[in-house]
């Protein structure tokens, strides 16, 4: 069973709906006993980093998620704020994250000359250049565009973690992969067919 972790931030239903549309039964839950039994976990999220971490703590999920992902190594997929929470810390609310990957979450810094053209948040459709072989992008046309909504992005200290980049005034890491840990800054659940393919690839892992 795939469990979509409910930690009190929006956007859970759209992930659930998208999975349902491709015939995958997922469960939205914040219940530790349900998360303990999950085969795979999706950590979605839209919102403020500090708020997200606080909610994970409040729901008593941090130790459990650490155990499931780092010790038991079940596949986990972070989306948007979800993948940002995998990092060591974020500039948003100057807050420590789960620290599963050697990366940080930093604010977009658009060069002065580009500021009328590249507004923050980065909202809209953008391409992704995948830089290493990954099962996640199997059967995804490199020309596909994905849907982004974010003001902060990942900066990987460990370059091995980087799976792909996108460009918005400059190149930034838009997806990561480290063993059983996957994540995208963009929203597969909002990215039409290419997004569905990504979910299908994750489900088949």
């Amino acid at each position: 069973m795939i469990v979509i972790v409910d930690y009190g931030v929006g956007n859970l239903r759209s992930v659930y709906n998208k999975l349902k549309r491709i015939g995958i039964a997922a469960e939205i839950s914040s219940d530790p006993s349900v998360i303990s039994k999950a085969d795979k976990i999706i950590l979605p999220g839209v919102g403020h980093f500090r708020n997200g971490m606080n909610k994970l703590r409040e729901y008593g999920l941090v130790d459990l998620l650490n155990h499931r992902v780092l010790t038991e190594k079940i596949p986990v997929f972070g989306i948007c704020l979800g993948v940002q929470l995998f990092t060591k810390r974020s500039e948003e609310g100057d807050c420590e994250g789960l620290g599963w990957i050697d990366a940080e979450t930093i604010k977009f810094v658009i060069p002065q000359a580009e500021k009328t053209k590249f507004k923050v948040p980065h909202i809209g459709w953008n391409s992704v250049s995948v830089i290493k072989e990954s099962i996640l992008f199997k059967n995804v046309d490199p020309a596909e565009l994905f849907y982004f909504v974010h003001s902060y992005h990942l900066k990987c200290n460990d370059k091995q973690v980087e799976l792909g980049n996108s460009n918005y005034a400059y190149d930034f890491v838009s997806c990561i992969e480290q063993g059983n840990i996957f994540g995208t800054q963009f929203h597969p659940e909002k990215s039409q067919d290419a997004g569905i393919q990504l979910f299908e690839n994750f489900v088949k892992l």
Partner: protein, 253 residues
């Protein structure tokens, strides 16, 4: 490559889809859920739903409706209409919306935008700014479906909303609404230049060339109602949207 968004704006009145001219003369178009299905097939980038009577009638857009849209909608969508509390926003997001749009209450209580963006993150909070000149030619922003003027002009209000944490601004020209004669490009440009958050141009688009002009005036995205709802000089109702190839062409220069 980043491609600007092209966003159909769907107006709701008593849960039916309508379209206005200059915020008046509402014409009944059809069933909104059916429109969602058509825009799914046409692969629209994003949809905006506005319940135009909600604030006036002191209620919030119906949640069961938002949920229905969420279940059907294959693309991101945002929702506005009478939002006044953090709980309203939470419920709308839980129903599947990507973002919420706040208009009347943002002018009434700008601090609310701060609270909302702290709680949900800036990128979830969109402020819609309706702009019109009064009888003496003085521009100001309006609330309650264009019926109540505020003390703010467009640029000042846009800056205030950015400062409070709005992640995106829809700049809607009331005078251009439904005319299909092109955006108020001066308005789009002066607001876009004044803020660092994305601005969505709205009101007046009738052709692909208009969409292109909007982006050239520094809008980050372009929205339209009539253009995606009507077809031909007699304004027959026909849901339409540029193809992938058309979109590439529109924004290639």
């Amino acid at each position: 490559m980043f491609r600007p968004r092209v966003i159909p704006v769907l107006l709701l009145k008593n849960l039916g889809l309508v379209k206005s001219v200059k915020f008046k003369n509402y014409n009944y178009i059809g069933d909104p859920i059916n429109a969602v299905k058509l825009f799914n097939d046409l692969r629209a980038d994003e949809l905006v739903f506005l319940d135009i009577l909600a604030s006036k009638e002191q209620r919030t857009i119906q949640l069961s409706f938002v949920q229905k849209v969420g279940d059907e909608c294959n693309m991101p969508f945002s929702v506005g209409g009478g939002i006044r509390t953090i709980a309203d926003i939470k419920q709308i997001l839980n129903a599947g919306a990507e973002k919420v749009i706040i208009n009347s209450y943002a002018a009434e209580n700008p601090e609310f935008i701060k609270q909302a963006s702290m709680e949900f993150g800036s990128s979830t909070i969109v402020v819609s700014i309706d702009v019109k000149k009064n009888l003496f030619g003085k521009e100001s922003t309006y609330t309650l479906g264009g019926t109540k003027s505020t003390p703010y002009n467009a640029v000042d209000f846009a800056k205030l909303m950015e400062e409070k944490g709005a992640g995106e601004l829809i700049i809607n020209s009331i005078e251009k609404d439904g005319t299909m004669e092109g955006y108020d490009l001066n308005l789009t440009k002066k607001v876009s230049e004044a803020v660092t958050v994305p601005v969505i141009a709205c009101g007046g688009a009738g052709t692909y060339a208009h969409l292109h002009e909007g982006i050239k005036s520094y809008a980050s995205a372009v929205a339209a109602g009539s253009m995606f709802i009507y077809h031909g000089p007699r304004k027959a109702v026909l849901i339409n949207y540029p193809s992938k190839e058309d979109l590439q062409k529109i924004f290639s220069t």
